[in-house]
Protein backbone atom coordinates (compact mmCIF):
# COMPACT_ATOMS: atom_id res chain seq x y z
CA UNK A 1 0.00 0.00 0.00
CA UNK A 2 1.46 3.36 -0.95
CA UNK A 3 2.37 6.08 1.52
CA UNK A 4 -0.94 7.47 2.79
CA UNK A 5 0.02 11.10 2.28
CA UNK A 6 -0.66 11.28 -1.45
CA UNK A 7 -4.08 11.16 -3.10
CA UNK A 8 -2.99 7.87 -4.55
CA UNK A 9 -3.96 6.33 -1.24
CA UNK A 10 -7.52 7.33 -1.93
CA UNK A 11 -7.47 5.72 -5.33
CA UNK A 12 -6.08 2.47 -3.94
CA UNK A 13 -8.59 2.45 -1.12
CA UNK A 14 -11.55 3.17 -3.36
CA UNK A 15 -10.43 0.71 -6.02
CA UNK A 16 -10.43 -1.98 -3.38
CA UNK A 17 -13.74 -0.88 -1.89
CA UNK A 18 -15.39 -0.71 -5.30
CA UNK A 19 -14.58 -4.27 -6.14
CA UNK A 20 -17.60 -6.20 -7.26
CA UNK A 21 -19.69 -7.88 -4.67
CA UNK A 22 -21.24 -11.19 -5.60
CA UNK A 23 -24.93 -11.38 -4.97
CA UNK A 24 -25.64 -14.85 -3.65
CA UNK A 25 -28.16 -16.78 -5.65
CA UNK A 26 -29.84 -18.07 -2.47
CA UNK A 27 -30.32 -14.49 -1.38
CA UNK A 28 -31.76 -13.53 -4.73
CA UNK A 29 -34.12 -16.48 -4.79
CA UNK A 30 -35.40 -15.70 -1.33
CA UNK A 31 -36.01 -12.09 -2.25
CA UNK A 32 -37.87 -12.95 -5.42
CA UNK A 33 -40.01 -15.45 -3.52
CA UNK A 34 -40.95 -12.73 -1.06
CA UNK A 35 -41.68 -10.38 -3.91
CA UNK A 36 -43.94 -12.97 -5.50
CA UNK A 37 -45.81 -13.30 -2.21
CA UNK A 38 -46.17 -9.59 -1.66
CA UNK A 39 -49.12 -7.58 -2.78
CA UNK A 40 -48.48 -6.16 -6.21
CA UNK A 41 -47.86 -2.45 -6.17
CA UNK A 42 -49.92 -0.29 -8.44
CA UNK A 43 -49.83 3.29 -9.61
CA UNK A 44 -53.06 3.80 -7.69
CA UNK A 45 -51.56 3.07 -4.29
CA UNK A 46 -52.32 5.79 -1.78
CA UNK A 47 -49.23 7.76 -0.99
CA UNK A 48 -50.36 7.84 2.64
CA UNK A 49 -49.30 4.27 3.21
CA UNK A 50 -46.82 4.33 6.01
CA UNK A 51 -44.29 1.85 7.06
CA UNK A 52 -43.63 1.41 10.70
CA UNK A 53 -39.89 1.38 10.97
CA UNK A 54 -39.45 -1.49 13.31
CA UNK A 55 -40.37 -5.05 12.67
CA UNK A 56 -42.22 -4.53 9.46
CA UNK A 57 -40.56 -7.19 7.40
CA UNK A 58 -40.27 -9.93 9.92
CA UNK A 59 -37.44 -8.39 11.86
CA UNK A 60 -38.92 -8.21 15.28
CA UNK A 61 -36.47 -6.50 17.55
CA UNK A 62 -36.07 -8.43 20.75
CA UNK A 63 -37.70 -6.74 23.63
CA UNK A 64 -36.12 -7.60 26.90
CA UNK A 65 -37.29 -6.45 30.21
CA UNK A 66 -34.20 -5.87 32.20
CA UNK A 67 -33.79 -4.53 35.65
CA UNK A 68 -31.62 -1.47 35.92
CA UNK A 69 -29.01 -1.82 38.56
CA UNK A 70 -26.68 1.09 39.00
CA UNK A 71 -23.19 0.32 40.15
CA UNK A 72 -20.78 3.14 40.90
CA UNK A 73 -19.57 3.40 37.32
CA UNK A 74 -22.79 2.46 35.60
CA UNK A 75 -23.80 6.09 35.35
CA UNK A 76 -20.59 6.81 33.54
CA UNK A 77 -21.15 3.83 31.27
CA UNK A 78 -24.63 5.02 30.43
CA UNK A 79 -23.22 8.44 29.67
CA UNK A 80 -20.59 6.81 27.50
CA UNK A 81 -23.24 4.94 25.59
CA UNK A 82 -25.22 8.13 25.11
CA UNK A 83 -22.17 10.02 23.94
CA UNK A 84 -21.33 7.15 21.66
CA UNK A 85 -24.83 7.25 20.30
CA UNK A 86 -24.57 10.98 19.83
CA UNK A 87 -23.71 10.49 16.20
CA UNK A 88 -26.50 7.99 15.84
CA UNK A 89 -29.00 10.27 17.47
CA UNK A 90 -28.14 13.07 15.10
CA UNK A 91 -28.62 10.63 12.27
CA UNK A 92 -32.09 9.80 13.37
CA UNK A 93 -33.09 13.41 13.83
CA UNK A 94 -32.08 14.05 10.24
CA UNK A 95 -33.79 11.05 8.81
CA UNK A 96 -36.98 11.26 10.81
CA UNK A 97 -40.01 11.42 8.60
CA UNK A 98 -42.82 12.48 10.83
CA UNK A 99 -42.54 12.15 14.60
CA UNK A 100 -40.96 9.56 16.69
CA UNK A 101 -37.29 10.48 16.77
CA UNK A 102 -37.62 12.12 20.16
CA UNK A 103 -39.37 9.02 21.47
CA UNK A 104 -36.69 6.86 20.04
CA UNK A 105 -34.05 8.97 21.67
CA UNK A 106 -35.71 8.48 25.00
CA UNK A 107 -36.13 4.80 24.53
CA UNK A 108 -32.51 4.37 23.54
CA UNK A 109 -31.31 6.26 26.59
CA UNK A 110 -33.67 4.29 28.76
CA UNK A 111 -32.78 0.92 27.28
CA UNK A 112 -31.95 -0.64 30.58
CA UNK A 113 -28.58 -2.32 30.83
CA UNK A 114 -28.35 -5.36 32.95
CA UNK A 115 -25.85 -6.20 35.57
CA UNK A 116 -24.55 -9.68 36.00
CA UNK A 117 -27.12 -11.58 38.02
CA UNK A 118 -26.61 -11.83 41.71
CA UNK A 119 -26.60 -15.59 41.84
CA UNK A 120 -24.62 -16.80 44.80
CA UNK A 121 -21.05 -17.54 43.86
CA UNK A 122 -19.94 -21.08 44.18
CA UNK A 123 -16.91 -21.22 46.38
CA UNK A 124 -16.35 -24.91 45.95
CA UNK A 125 -13.02 -25.60 44.38
CA UNK A 126 -11.58 -28.68 42.79
CA UNK A 127 -8.01 -29.79 42.97
CA UNK A 128 -6.49 -29.84 39.52
CA UNK A 129 -3.14 -31.33 38.73
CA UNK A 130 -0.97 -29.82 36.02
CA UNK A 131 1.86 -31.81 34.48
CA UNK A 132 4.57 -31.01 32.00
CA UNK A 133 7.34 -33.10 30.62
CA UNK A 134 10.44 -30.89 30.32
CA UNK A 135 13.51 -32.91 31.25
CA UNK A 136 16.07 -30.20 30.44
CA UNK A 137 14.30 -27.32 32.14
CA UNK A 138 15.53 -25.78 35.35
CA UNK A 139 12.47 -23.70 36.20
CA UNK A 140 8.84 -24.23 35.27
CA UNK A 141 5.93 -22.09 36.42
CA UNK A 142 2.23 -21.97 35.72
CA UNK A 143 0.55 -18.73 34.63
CA UNK A 144 -3.09 -18.23 33.88
CA UNK A 145 -6.40 -16.61 34.57
CA UNK A 146 -6.49 -18.17 38.04
CA UNK A 147 -3.28 -16.52 39.27
CA UNK A 148 -3.41 -13.20 37.43
CA UNK A 149 -0.75 -14.41 35.00
CA UNK A 150 1.84 -14.03 37.72
CA UNK A 151 4.94 -16.04 36.79
CA UNK A 152 6.18 -16.33 40.36
CA UNK A 153 2.93 -17.35 41.99
CA UNK A 154 2.80 -21.01 40.99
CA UNK A 155 6.08 -22.77 40.42
CA UNK A 156 6.05 -26.44 39.49
CA UNK A 157 8.32 -28.98 41.05
CA UNK A 158 9.80 -32.15 39.70
CA UNK A 159 8.10 -35.36 40.65
CA UNK A 160 10.98 -37.68 41.53
CA UNK A 161 9.12 -40.76 40.35
CA UNK A 162 8.12 -39.63 36.84
CA UNK A 163 10.62 -36.84 36.26
CA UNK A 164 7.76 -34.62 35.20
CA UNK A 165 7.10 -31.15 36.47
CA UNK A 166 3.90 -31.04 38.48
CA UNK A 167 1.72 -28.83 40.61
CA UNK A 168 -1.75 -29.25 42.07
CA UNK A 169 -4.07 -26.29 42.52
CA UNK A 170 -7.50 -25.70 43.85
CA UNK A 171 -9.54 -24.06 41.11
CA UNK A 172 -13.12 -22.86 41.04
CA UNK A 173 -15.43 -24.46 38.47
CA UNK A 174 -15.37 -23.05 34.98
CA UNK A 175 -13.14 -22.36 32.04
CA UNK A 176 -9.61 -21.21 32.79
CA UNK A 177 -6.86 -20.20 30.41
CA UNK A 178 -3.21 -20.89 31.16
CA UNK A 179 0.30 -21.57 29.93
CA UNK A 180 3.63 -22.80 31.26
CA UNK A 181 6.74 -20.68 31.61
CA UNK A 182 9.72 -22.93 30.98
CA UNK A 183 13.02 -21.20 31.74
CA UNK A 184 11.49 -17.90 30.72
CA UNK A 185 9.72 -19.11 27.58
CA UNK A 186 5.95 -19.21 27.50
CA UNK A 187 4.51 -22.38 26.09
CA UNK A 188 1.08 -23.94 25.84
CA UNK A 189 0.26 -27.28 27.43
CA UNK A 190 0.75 -29.84 24.67
CA UNK A 191 -1.84 -32.12 26.22
CA UNK A 192 -4.68 -29.64 26.61
CA UNK A 193 -7.20 -27.98 24.31
CA UNK A 194 -6.04 -24.67 22.95
CA UNK A 195 -7.65 -21.27 23.22
CA UNK A 196 -8.15 -19.60 19.88
CA UNK A 197 -7.04 -16.10 20.78
CA UNK A 198 -3.40 -15.23 20.35
CA UNK A 199 -3.57 -11.54 21.03
CA UNK A 200 -0.10 -11.38 22.46
CA UNK A 201 1.78 -13.65 20.17
CA UNK A 202 1.20 -17.20 21.34
CA UNK A 203 -1.63 -19.55 22.15
CA UNK A 204 -2.78 -20.59 25.56
CA UNK A 205 -4.36 -23.74 26.89
CA UNK A 206 -7.79 -24.28 28.34
CA UNK A 207 -8.76 -26.19 31.44
CA UNK A 208 -12.38 -26.87 32.26
CA UNK A 209 -13.08 -27.57 35.88
CA UNK A 210 -16.20 -29.36 36.97
CA UNK A 211 -18.13 -28.46 40.06
CA UNK A 212 -17.78 -31.04 42.80
CA UNK A 213 -20.66 -33.38 43.27
CA UNK A 214 -22.12 -33.29 46.73
Amino acid sequence: MSEPDSPRWLKEVTDELRRDVIVRSTWRTRLLEEVARARKPSAHDTVDERFDDEGELGHQPERHHRAITLGPLAGLAAATVLVALGAGVTYMAMSARGGGSADRQRSVAAAPPQLVSGAPASSEREVVRFELSAPRASRVALVGSFNEWNPVATPLSRDPASGKWVVSLRLPPGRHVYAFVVDGDVTADPAAPRAADDDFGSTNSVVLVTAPRT
Binding site: R66, G71, L73, A74, L76, A77, A78, T80, V81, P113, Q114, L115, V116, S117, P120, A121, S123, E124, E126, V127, V128, R129, F130, E131, V143, S145, F146, E148, W149, N150, L171, P172, P173, G174, R175, H176, V177, V186, D189, A191, A192, P193, R194, A195, A196, D197, D199, F200, G201, T203, N204, V206, V207, L208, V209, T210, A211, P212, R213, T214
Partner: protein
Protein backbone atom coordinates in the same frame (compact mmCIF):
# COMPACT_ATOMS: atom_id res chain seq x y z
CA UNK B 1 -16.48 -32.35 49.92
CA UNK B 2 -14.80 -35.00 47.86
CA UNK B 3 -11.41 -34.10 46.55
CA UNK B 4 -10.74 -35.40 43.05
CA UNK B 5 -7.52 -35.29 41.14
CA UNK B 6 -7.95 -34.61 37.45
CA UNK B 7 -5.12 -35.84 35.28
CA UNK B 8 -3.69 -33.54 32.64
CA UNK B 9 -6.14 -30.70 33.12
CA UNK B 10 -9.20 -32.18 31.43
CA UNK B 11 -12.75 -32.04 32.60
CA UNK B 12 -14.25 -35.48 32.76
CA UNK B 13 -17.91 -34.67 33.11
CA UNK B 14 -20.36 -31.83 33.02
CA UNK B 15 -19.49 -28.28 33.73
CA UNK B 16 -21.78 -25.98 35.60
CA UNK B 17 -21.57 -22.30 34.92
CA UNK B 18 -20.91 -20.87 38.34
CA UNK B 19 -22.30 -17.41 37.82
CA UNK B 20 -20.29 -14.85 39.68
CA UNK B 21 -17.61 -17.25 40.87
CA UNK B 22 -14.91 -14.74 41.46
CA UNK B 23 -11.71 -16.42 40.44
CA UNK B 24 -10.08 -13.28 39.22
CA UNK B 25 -8.67 -10.12 40.70
CA UNK B 26 -10.89 -7.31 39.53
CA UNK B 27 -8.40 -4.50 39.69
CA UNK B 28 -6.21 -3.17 36.91
CA UNK B 29 -2.46 -3.57 37.32
CA UNK B 30 -0.56 -0.48 38.38
CA UNK B 31 2.00 -1.01 35.61
CA UNK B 32 -0.50 0.43 33.13
CA UNK B 33 -0.62 4.17 32.55
CA UNK B 34 -3.46 6.20 34.00
CA UNK B 35 -5.14 6.94 30.66
CA UNK B 36 -5.02 3.28 29.67
CA UNK B 37 -6.49 2.23 32.94
CA UNK B 38 -9.26 4.77 32.51
CA UNK B 39 -10.00 3.48 29.02
CA UNK B 40 -10.04 -0.11 30.20
CA UNK B 41 -12.25 0.72 33.13
CA UNK B 42 -14.82 2.25 30.86
CA UNK B 43 -14.66 -0.67 28.46
CA UNK B 44 -15.05 -3.21 31.22
CA UNK B 45 -17.80 -1.28 32.89
CA UNK B 46 -19.75 -1.12 29.64
CA UNK B 47 -19.41 -4.86 29.41
CA UNK B 48 -20.51 -5.32 32.99
CA UNK B 49 -23.54 -3.13 32.47
CA UNK B 50 -24.35 -5.15 29.37
CA UNK B 51 -24.44 -8.31 31.46
CA UNK B 52 -21.34 -9.84 29.94
CA UNK B 53 -18.76 -11.85 31.89
CA UNK B 54 -15.98 -9.47 32.88
CA UNK B 55 -13.48 -11.87 34.44
CA UNK B 56 -12.13 -12.77 30.99
CA UNK B 57 -11.55 -9.06 30.34
CA UNK B 58 -9.55 -8.61 33.52
CA UNK B 59 -7.60 -11.75 32.69
CA UNK B 60 -6.85 -10.47 29.25
CA UNK B 61 -5.38 -7.30 30.76
CA UNK B 62 -3.23 -9.29 33.17
CA UNK B 63 -2.05 -11.54 30.40
CA UNK B 64 -1.06 -8.54 28.31
CA UNK B 65 0.92 -7.06 31.17
CA UNK B 66 2.59 -10.40 31.81
CA UNK B 67 3.64 -10.55 28.16
CA UNK B 68 4.89 -6.94 28.17
CA UNK B 69 2.56 -5.98 25.36
CA UNK B 70 2.12 -2.35 24.24
CA UNK B 71 -0.72 -0.67 26.04
CA UNK B 72 -2.51 -0.02 22.76
CA UNK B 73 -2.38 -3.71 22.06
CA UNK B 74 -3.84 -4.54 25.44
CA UNK B 75 -6.69 -2.13 24.83
CA UNK B 76 -7.27 -3.57 21.38
CA UNK B 77 -7.35 -7.11 22.76
CA UNK B 78 -9.83 -6.20 25.48
CA UNK B 79 -12.02 -4.34 23.04
CA UNK B 80 -11.99 -7.26 20.67
CA UNK B 81 -12.83 -9.72 23.43
CA UNK B 82 -15.63 -7.52 24.69
CA UNK B 83 -17.11 -7.40 21.24
CA UNK B 84 -16.83 -11.18 20.84
CA UNK B 85 -18.44 -11.70 24.24
CA UNK B 86 -21.29 -9.47 23.18
CA UNK B 87 -21.75 -11.37 19.93
CA UNK B 88 -21.58 -14.69 21.74
CA UNK B 89 -24.18 -13.55 24.23
CA UNK B 90 -26.47 -12.50 21.41
CA UNK B 91 -26.08 -15.79 19.63
CA UNK B 92 -26.30 -18.05 22.67
CA UNK B 93 -29.10 -16.23 24.40
CA UNK B 94 -29.65 -14.67 27.79
CA UNK B 95 -29.74 -17.95 29.64
CA UNK B 96 -26.19 -18.87 28.63
CA UNK B 97 -23.82 -18.82 31.59
CA UNK B 98 -20.52 -17.01 31.85
CA UNK B 99 -18.36 -19.97 30.83
CA UNK B 100 -20.51 -20.75 27.85
CA UNK B 101 -20.43 -17.16 26.65
CA UNK B 102 -16.67 -17.02 27.13
CA UNK B 103 -16.18 -20.26 25.25
CA UNK B 104 -18.50 -18.87 22.59
CA UNK B 105 -16.42 -15.73 22.26
CA UNK B 106 -13.35 -17.86 21.80
CA UNK B 107 -15.10 -19.92 19.16
CA UNK B 108 -15.99 -16.75 17.27
CA UNK B 109 -12.37 -15.78 17.45
CA UNK B 110 -11.49 -19.16 15.99
CA UNK B 111 -13.51 -18.27 12.93
CA UNK B 112 -17.06 -19.25 13.71
CA UNK B 113 -19.92 -17.06 12.70
CA UNK B 114 -22.50 -16.05 15.29
CA UNK B 115 -25.02 -18.01 13.24
CA UNK B 116 -22.98 -21.15 13.92
CA UNK B 117 -23.36 -20.60 17.64
CA UNK B 118 -27.10 -20.15 17.30
CA UNK B 119 -27.31 -23.30 15.26
CA UNK B 120 -25.40 -25.24 17.90
CA UNK B 121 -27.78 -23.95 20.48
CA UNK B 122 -30.73 -25.06 18.36
CA UNK B 123 -29.10 -28.45 17.91
CA UNK B 124 -28.83 -28.98 21.64
CA UNK B 125 -31.99 -27.37 22.86
CA UNK B 126 -34.63 -29.96 22.06
CA UNK B 127 -32.86 -32.49 24.24
CA UNK B 128 -31.25 -30.56 27.00
CA UNK B 129 -30.26 -27.24 28.42
CA UNK B 130 -26.76 -28.38 29.13
CA UNK B 131 -24.17 -25.70 28.40
CA UNK B 132 -22.30 -25.82 25.12
CA UNK B 133 -19.04 -24.92 26.82
CA UNK B 134 -17.22 -28.13 26.04
CA UNK B 135 -18.53 -28.29 22.48
CA UNK B 136 -17.29 -24.76 21.90
CA UNK B 137 -13.90 -25.41 23.47
CA UNK B 138 -13.49 -28.45 21.23
CA UNK B 139 -14.38 -26.50 18.11
CA UNK B 140 -12.04 -23.64 18.96
CA UNK B 141 -9.23 -26.07 19.65
CA UNK B 142 -9.64 -27.93 16.38
CA UNK B 143 -9.76 -24.67 14.47
CA UNK B 144 -6.40 -23.63 15.92
CA UNK B 145 -4.94 -26.91 14.70
CA UNK B 146 -5.73 -26.27 11.09
CA UNK B 147 -9.20 -27.75 10.84
CA UNK B 148 -11.36 -25.31 8.85
CA UNK B 149 -13.83 -23.76 11.27
CA UNK B 150 -16.84 -24.68 9.16
CA UNK B 151 -15.80 -28.31 9.14
CA UNK B 152 -15.23 -28.42 12.88
CA UNK B 153 -18.60 -26.84 13.49
CA UNK B 154 -20.38 -29.28 11.20
CA UNK B 155 -18.91 -32.30 12.97
CA UNK B 156 -19.53 -31.06 16.47
CA UNK B 157 -23.01 -29.99 15.47
CA UNK B 158 -23.75 -33.55 14.42
CA UNK B 159 -22.46 -34.85 17.73
CA UNK B 160 -24.40 -32.29 19.74
CA UNK B 161 -27.56 -33.23 17.87
CA UNK B 162 -27.00 -36.78 19.06
CA UNK B 163 -26.50 -35.61 22.63
CA UNK B 164 -22.97 -36.92 22.93
CA UNK B 165 -21.53 -36.41 26.42
CA UNK B 166 -18.91 -33.82 27.28
CA UNK B 167 -16.43 -36.54 28.13
CA UNK B 168 -16.91 -38.12 24.72
CA UNK B 169 -16.49 -34.75 23.05
CA UNK B 170 -13.18 -34.25 24.78
CA UNK B 171 -11.96 -37.71 23.81
CA UNK B 172 -13.10 -37.00 20.28
CA UNK B 173 -10.95 -33.87 20.29
CA UNK B 174 -7.98 -35.78 21.58
CA UNK B 175 -8.38 -38.44 18.93
CA UNK B 176 -8.68 -35.96 16.11
CA UNK B 177 -5.58 -34.18 17.37
CA UNK B 178 -3.70 -37.42 17.41
CA UNK B 179 -4.78 -38.17 13.86
CA UNK B 180 -3.75 -34.72 12.67
CA UNK B 181 -0.34 -35.06 14.26
CA UNK B 182 -0.08 -38.41 12.55
CA UNK B 183 -0.49 -36.69 9.21
CA UNK B 184 -4.13 -37.30 8.48
CA UNK B 185 -6.03 -34.56 6.68
CA UNK B 186 -8.54 -32.60 8.77
CA UNK B 187 -11.42 -33.77 6.61
CA UNK B 188 -10.60 -37.43 6.90
CA UNK B 189 -9.74 -37.25 10.60
CA UNK B 190 -12.99 -35.49 11.43
CA UNK B 191 -15.01 -37.77 9.28
CA UNK B 192 -13.56 -40.97 10.72
CA UNK B 193 -13.74 -39.87 14.35
CA UNK B 194 -17.24 -38.45 14.04
CA UNK B 195 -18.49 -41.63 12.47
CA UNK B 196 -16.76 -43.74 15.10
CA UNK B 197 -18.29 -41.75 17.92
CA UNK B 198 -21.75 -41.91 16.38
CA UNK B 199 -21.41 -45.67 15.97
CA UNK B 200 -20.32 -45.98 19.59
CA UNK B 201 -23.31 -44.00 20.73
CA UNK B 202 -25.64 -46.18 18.73
CA UNK B 203 -24.29 -49.31 20.31
CA UNK B 204 -24.78 -47.89 23.74
CA UNK B 205 -27.88 -49.40 25.46
Amino acid sequence: MIVRLLALAFAAASITAAAGAQAVDRTLPAQLSVPTRATLERLIDSARVAGLPIDPLYSKVREGVFRSADESRVVAAVQRLARDLGDARMALGDSAGAEEVTAGANALRAGLHPADLSRLREARRPRSDHPLTVALVVIADLATRGVPAAMAVASVNELVTRNVSDGSLLSFRQNVERDLVGGRSPASALDARTRALIDDERRRP
